[in-house]
């Protein structure tokens, strides 16, 4: 039940893009078409899950025992960059069709701050684990939930922008300005979910 709550909270209540402001660049950059948004969402889910497992292991079994906590940022970003490269090579060999679908998004992901951000949150145990012990399992659940939240926001936003492209907007509002205001309204809509997780928790008797 708590795991379900982590999902609800990370997807709707504390949506990574719309309320935590991580991963804004791809959110604004790759959201012109629904099909690319789906691809980006899948790629992020994939990389984020693997990255969280690897960085969690590094933090708890290498950096902390050696008292090297201050190397966290530098090690994590290198690991993520390396991981993305590796995934690219493996995907190319193992599943060319998947590579076709996700390939072009992979290089963009290294500088997607939601990967590094969520890795740091999980490694430092500073995310909302809904009362569970923050360990590797809850970390991975949180990472998957977060990336679904990212994909959802991205796909909804792409849908809106596809429609938006067909209407006329004032000249100075064209492009990013109107996109940002649309994103603001979307964030406002997602605020409506706040408290839902608590409601479910109470209803389930937690």
């Amino acid at each position: 039940m708590e795991y379900f709550l982590i999902f609800i909270a990370a997807i709707f209540v504390n949506n990574i893009v719309l309320s935590q402001f991580l991963g804004i660049c791809p959110f604004l950059g790759v959201s012109k078409k629904i099909s690319t948004a789906v691809g980006m969402g899948l790629a992020v889910t994939f990389v984020l899950t693997v990255a969280v497992i690897v960085t969690y292991a590094l933090q708890n079994w290498v950096l902390n025992p050696l008292d090297l906590g201050y190397l966290q940022t530098i090690v994590f970003i290198l690991v993520i960059a390396g991981l993305v490269q590796m995934l690219e090579i493996i995907l190319k060999k193992v599943s060319p069709s998947l590579y076709q679908a996700l390939g072009i998004f992979l290089p963009l992901i290294t500088t997607n701050c939601c990967i590094l951000g969520v890795s740091i949150l999980v490694a430092n145990a500073t995310y909302n684990a809904q009362g569970l012990e923050p360990n590797l399992l809850t970390g991975v659940v949180y990472a998957i939930a977060t990336s679904i939240g990212f994909a959802l926001a991205l796909i909804i936003f792409a849908g809106i922008r596809e429609q938006l492209a067909k209407v006329r907007v004032p000249k100075s509002m064209e492009g990013m300005a109107i996109a940002l205001i649309t994103a603001g309204l979307l964030a406002l809509a997602f605020m409506g979910f706040s408290g839902v997780d608590h409601g479910i928790a109470v209803a389930a008797g937690l």
Partner: protein
């Protein structure tokens, strides 16, 4: 100087050299700053103890060695004659808006809240951070504040209480009024408020063994 060629030896050597240099530099900076960082953390705890137990009172006092038990840290504060003035408890709630919310609460020997301070939080900057002041403000500006948000949301406002100083979690239900408690939540930050009150209740419970909120179903029972 000409640019180095991208052969495998060059690449490996340069990358290794840069990484080693970076690690060395960081080790040195870490060495230099770890002292001040620890000092600041200790100072924060020290000032925290002073402010949550004494407030504005000017009394000479001594602090006993901190005791750690079940995730709580206790600091007993005595006056110079050795009488217990109160206990400052460090308490963490894991269910804040963005994770941990760590507070220090001061109780007098009867369990009345003398003061509190927020040690660590990962709430919305500028909003959840209001917990710093909110729970010690008089309700007058509370009514005004909630009126503003009520106008925005189109809901009727009601004046309430959110000053927890002087309350006793053993007698009063320290929960958000929405959940059937006696304390008003921070405007638009119910999650932060719940986490804060849970931390306060847990701190009380760790010293005195029970709270009035235990009887009410909901938030506090999940710990």
């Amino acid at each position: 100087m000409k640019k180095l060629k991208s052969n495998i030896v060059n690449m490996a050597v340069v990358l290794t050299l840069i990484a080693v240099a970076a690690a060395g530099l960081l080790a040195w900076v870490n060495n230099v700053t770890s002292g001040p960082i620890e000092e600041i953390n200790n100072l924060a705890i020290e000032n925290g103890i002073k402010s949550v137990i004494l407030g504005d009172r000017d009394i000479q006092f001594t602090v006993e060695q901190p005791v750690e038990r079940e995730g709580f840290v206790f600091h007993n504060v005595n006056d110079l004659k050795g009488n217990l003035l109160g206990t400052a408890v460090e308490s963490t709630d894991r269910n804040g808006f963005g994770g941990n919310l760590k507070v220090m609460v001061g109780f007098d020997p009867e369990g009345v809240i003398l003061g509190y301070t927020v040690l660590e939080h990962s709430e919305t900057p500028g909003l959840g951070a209001q917990a710093d002041d909110w729970f010690r403000q008089k309700s007058a500006d509370a009514a005004e504040q909630s009126a503003a948000i009520d106008v925005l949301l189109g809901a009727p406002g009601k004046p309430g209480n959110h000053n927890i100083i002087g309350m006793n979690p053993g007698d009063e239900i320290m929960m958000v009024s929405k959940d059937g408690g006696d304390v008003d939540a921070i405007t638009a930050s119910t999650i932060t408020s719940r986490a804060f009150l849970r931390a306060v209740n847990a701190a009380y419970k760790s010293v005195f063994g029970y709270t009035a909120a235990d009887g009410v179903s909901g938030a506090s029972s999940q710990n």
